[in-house]
Symmetry: C2
Subunit: 337 residues, 2 copies
DNA sequence: CTGTTAGCGCTTTCAT
DNA sequence: ATGAAAGCGCTAACAG
């Protein structure tokens, strides 16, 4: 009752192992007769033959497996990136194994200590940069997601037009009449967030004066924003920020909660915009005006880029477009008293 | 500049390959001298040696890899199950590879078509039952999560005390004064939801009269509940359901949105309870009263169970306890007009 | 204590 | 058109 090997198939079909390999590897055109090929396939199916991947990898020297390095899957954005990457991988007979960077209690200190760590390449998010240090020495092809292209160090980059998203959000708020915009920034030292801050500063014509930082979870964002709002309310109303641009939907949700706790209505008293457009954005009320990011496409492109690099090619592509989705959390600022 | 093999290490250390294997495999006590062992480790470190997992798997016949079958990681519950499973796996030198069942566009039709599919065992959620059919023929050890233990077919089961959770929720609502409780059920043919319905029916002393079914996403739940509520409001107030027990936090969020759209306040006019206690539950307002499920523990236990089975052991454990977390979405029913 | 040897299941020349 | 044989890197008997 042990698993059938290619030798068993060969024996059953009355041919040699080599022939089995050719037929099943789809490399037999003109080298094996139609009839023999049929016999082999029948025998394989009959025995329920499955090639032993370990043996194949050993022989071929490649595992057809990519490592995806992200901070955590509980962040829906990354769950979607994974989905996209896994889909494209599967289409090409590749597998994806995850390495969750040590933000939480990541699975392993060293991605290569993990048993599945026989890898052909790595796809990594900028939010998992620290984890990459562990990989550092490795000579594997690397594709960076949402990272500073100028930084180099990777074989390919997949980026979103985040600057465009920020500009769209700012234009939307300005169009509504907002003059002073606060920035609720993610307190994460990652390029994907720095570019938001830099773009906002450029838009506002100077370093953003009203920046608040918060960890990437709702309670932290609520607390941070509550403090900021309390300060604002204590000061004269004139010139007070009337809108908050948030680095992430999670932060935006926190901002909304904070506003409501202090008796402010969203969007009548305070406008809020988010980033990502995950399910959360439409789960809350009011639904969030937010910059929609094509998370799955990021994963897909990342995998395509890696595949291309592995084939010796070069990967170049424009930034993925993003778009502001206007919903209920933004409105004109309150009119004077 | 090719990757060093154990032979290279042996050569560098001036010993044989076998000795290297013993030392690095930590099986050298009393068989190799301290000094030689040190030499080997030094040489390995110096060369940056990494064992070739494919070769090891081939030799050992086991891959130290488990397949985790879940519907989708974008559901935070399953992302957390994965986190738990991956942690325990890593502690034991195992890897976890994911198979997302075809609810969405799963990565592959056949989990074993995937390249990473050199597996020692499978851990599967009951919500991914269809995917298991594809695996059907396989002789791999199987651990089922949240599935009917009476159904058999698996080497081990990891279950939650969902019935206890339902009973707690009902008791809570009854204690507040609710007499008629509606059930917003997940329209998913999976044991984890059937047990909720069955327990509720038992509690109510008969088949739940006010059941509404919905797909597991916020918009669907909102729509389904909106319809139900509209009917209720058209009927006389007396005897109208005053509380909704939802199979999942996602559904509960939908129920809250529906209520608000029809001008009902939560919890003053309608009480709502959820299931899972994911981040969403505290992101919305009011925060959800919900049955908290230890998702990561489910993943951990699942992996432990599989490890035990792989070692030839038998796994038995009581259902994991759950607990109702009371927050703002439940209150006494409205008093008569 | 350490080295030699065989072989896991597969792919791929090279003969025939 | 097919078969024989070598070898990928590792581990586990068995010798010495």
């Amino acid at each position: 009752m042990t698993r059938p090997t290619s030798r068993d198939v060969a024996h059953a079909a009355g041919v040699s192992q080599a022939t089995v390999s050719l037929v099943l590897g789809d490399k037999w055109r003109g080298r094996v007769s139609e009839r023999t090929a049929g016999l082999v396939r029948e025998a394989a199916a009959g025995l329920g033959y499955r090639p032993n991947l370990a043996a194949r990898s050993l022989r071929l020297g490649s595992t057809r497996t990519a490592l995806l390095v992200v901070p955590a899957l509980t962040n829906e954005y990354f769950a979607r990136v994974h989905t996209g990457a896994a889909r494209v991988a599967a289409e090409h007979g590749f597998g994806v194994v995850l390495y969750l960077s040590p933000d939480g209690t990541g699975p392993a200190k060293d991605p290569f200590a993990s048993a599945s760590a026989a890898l052909d390449g790595v796809i990594a998010s900028s939010m998992a940069a620290d984890a990459l240090e562990a990989i550092g020495g490795s000579e594997l092809p690397l594709v960076m997601l949402d990272s500073d292209p100028a930084a180099g160090g990777a074989a390919a980059f997949v980026n979103l037009d985040l600057a465009g998203g920020v500009r769209e959000a700012v234009a939307h708020l300005r169009g509504l009449g907002h003059r002073r915009i606060r920035h609720l920034a993610a307190d994460v030292p990652s390029w994907t967030f720095r570019i938001r801050a830099d773009t906002l500063a450029a838009e506002l014509g100077g370093p953003a004066p009203d920046t608040v930082r918060s960890a990437l979870n709702v309670p932290a964002a609520t607390a941070a924003m509550e403090r900021a709002l309390a300060t604002d309310l204590a000061a004269p109303a004139a010139g007070r920020p009337t809108a908050v641009l948030c680095d992430d939907d999670i932060l935006a949700v926190g901002a909304c909660k904070a506003a409501r706790r202090l008796g402010l209505r969203v969007p009548e008293d305070l406008s809020v915009t988010g980033f990502d457009d995950v399910a959360l954005a439409t789960a809350v009320e009011p639904e969030l005006t937010t910059v929609s990011l094509p998370a799955e496409r990021v994963g897909e492109q990342g995998m395509r880029a890696l595949l291309t690099v592995l084939e010796g090619g070069t990967w170049r592509a424009p930034d993925l477009p993003v778009a502001l989705t206007v919903r209920g959390s933004t409105a004109p600022p309150p009119t004077g008293p």
